[in-house]
């Protein structure tokens, strides 16, 4: 049985005196992403999702497997709640478009359905936080209950806006993961990283300033229309679709950068040989599941290849399907991030 203390085992890399190089790379990435996202939002969005959507999910899955204990031990309830919620919420979310097509929903009824799903998601999060909080002797997380209820209330006031907020906030979670990971593996880089993050609001302000008056992006064809809708052009018609797509794309690019480049490069000892199943604790352990882990990773790799093929054949439909199923990785981030706080 693996104890909670064992979970903290992570390959700590010795201090490397190149925090400035790391900071420079992060800054370059932020500025370059903002520039490309502002310059050619639609084209870069198509290319970015095509290239990185699948691989980043594979890296994320691998990262979560690295964080998974062999035995849940005293965290059993936490992980059971996490996986049960993940399954139920993903299935219900994926079934929503089918539900929408099979029945004739009024706008009001549909808003209620969306608000109900968002509420389920928030209550699941609150439950996870409560379960995690019980294991933290020093910290008190009870303040999250009124905050969660307030968020839930806002969600019922405007479910569409709340769903859109999830779309925009989700990429930022990756930055939080990187922060937590750095604090464990490269604490000497943490200060530089956080300083770099301070640039982020200013970049966003500049983007809003430059693009708020920009003419709307052409949404004449189905694909461009889907991209603008995904960024919230319908929910926020008074905001330039150029701004919405650019900001969303910028955050997505940072998200991909963290999962595909930053985290694998930082966790050298474990992630350098990312194809080696034995580097995953849950597979390496004597009581582990090497075949299951290997099977999962191979299956995920096949899904990435399938995604690329599907994008090549019918980009628009694949994009729709991908962003529906991708809710699973959005949800999966919550319990693993909570385990790192």
């Amino acid at each position: 049985m693996q104890s909670a203390a064992e979970l903290k085992i992570w390959p700590v890399v010795r201090a490397v005196p190149n925090a400035r190089v790391f900071g420079a790379i992060v800054l370059l990435c932020i500025v370059a992403s903002a520039a490309f996202a502002s310059w050619l939002p639609l084209q870069v969005s198509i290319l970015t999702v095509f290239l990185f959507a699948g691989p980043h999910n594979w890296f994320e899955l691998r990262y979560f497997l690295m964080r998974l204990p062999v035995r849940f031990g005293r965290s059993r309830n936490f992980f059971l709640t996490a996986f049960a919620g993940l399954g139920v919420l993903t299935l219900t979310y994926v079934s929503l478009p089918l539900l929408y097509r099979t029945a004739l929903w009024s706008e009001e009824a549909w808003s209620t359905v969306i608000a109900s799903w968002n509420s389920l998601f928030l209550f699941w999060l609150l439950l996870l936080i409560w379960l995690r909080g019980k294991r933290k002797a020093r910290a008190s997380w009870t303040w999250t209950i009124p905050v969660g209820l307030a968020l839930c209330s806002l969600n019922w006031l405007s479910p569409d806006l709340f769903s859109l907020a999830i779309v925009y906030v989700h990429p930022l979670v990756a930055l939080w993961f990187l922060d937590r990971h750095l604090s464990r593996t490269r604490p000497e880089w943490l200060r530089v990283y956080r300083r770099c993050l301070c640039v982020l609001p200013f970049v966003l302000i500049v983007m809003v300033w430059r693009l708020s008056q920009a003419s709307p992006l052409p949404d004449s064809n189905g694909l461009f229309w889907r991209i603008t809708q995904h960024s919230g052009a319908e929910v926020l018609p008074q905001v330039s679709s150029h701004l919405l797509v650019s900001v969303h794309l910028f955050l997505e690019m940072l998200h991909y950068f963290v999962w595909i480049v930053a985290l694998p490069l930082i966790a050298r000892a474990a992630m350098k040989r990312f194809w080696d199943v034995k580097t995953v604790p849950v597979a390496r352990h004597a009581k582990g599941f090497p075949r299951l882990v290997a099977g999962l990773l191979v299956l995920a790799l096949a899904a990435v290849v399938l995604l690329w093929l599907s994008f090549s054949i019918d980009y628009s439909t694949t994009r729709d399907v991908y962003f529906t199923i991708a809710i699973a990785h959005v949800l999966a981030e919550a319990p693993f991030l909570l385990r790192m706080i």
Partner: protein, 205 residues
Amino acid sequence: MKSLLFACCVVLVTLVLTQTVNADLPVTRTSDQKISRPAPSEGGRYVLHTSLEIVPDPKAYEAKLQITESDLKNFRAALDGTQGNTTIAAITHSPTRTIIAGLLMFLSVSIGGVLFARSSSSGRTQKIAGAVILVVAVVGAAAIITRGNAGPPGSYRWRNLPQALAEGKATAGGLDIEVIPDDARTGANMRLIIPLKKQNSPGEE
């Protein structure tokens, strides 16, 4: 830290409540019904409230109606029955969601208040949080009262229109866009109704 977070939550809650109260305001009723906002025409419906500026231009060949892209989008959204920019207004049309949101907000504020009261720390942070809450409450109440009274009637801004037109000056004021049935039109396709009061000359009753 917790107190500050709680204070931030209260700020958020108050702002939202202020907006909701503003949205839920009934039509202003005063003793002088002439200056209250009238009901829409028979068969018509208000779809958008915006502003209008009337600019006399001696060089213009034809009267011209300029409309911003955002207003046009909102106009289209309102006609299509979609939410558009009228998010808060849409809430008032959804009593179920408003009730659920209100209950959740009530729970949030109640639980937050209990947690805040029970927190043992009575240091500087808590005092700051208390001050922030007080200021926000005052500002929120002031905002509600101000919006509740809704300021002067819309006709106030248009009162000097004839004089401004005579002098070639521009005049701006609020404007309700009302969609009326085709059979209700009175000649032209568009009609601009300006709320001008007849101004009595001195000595005239």
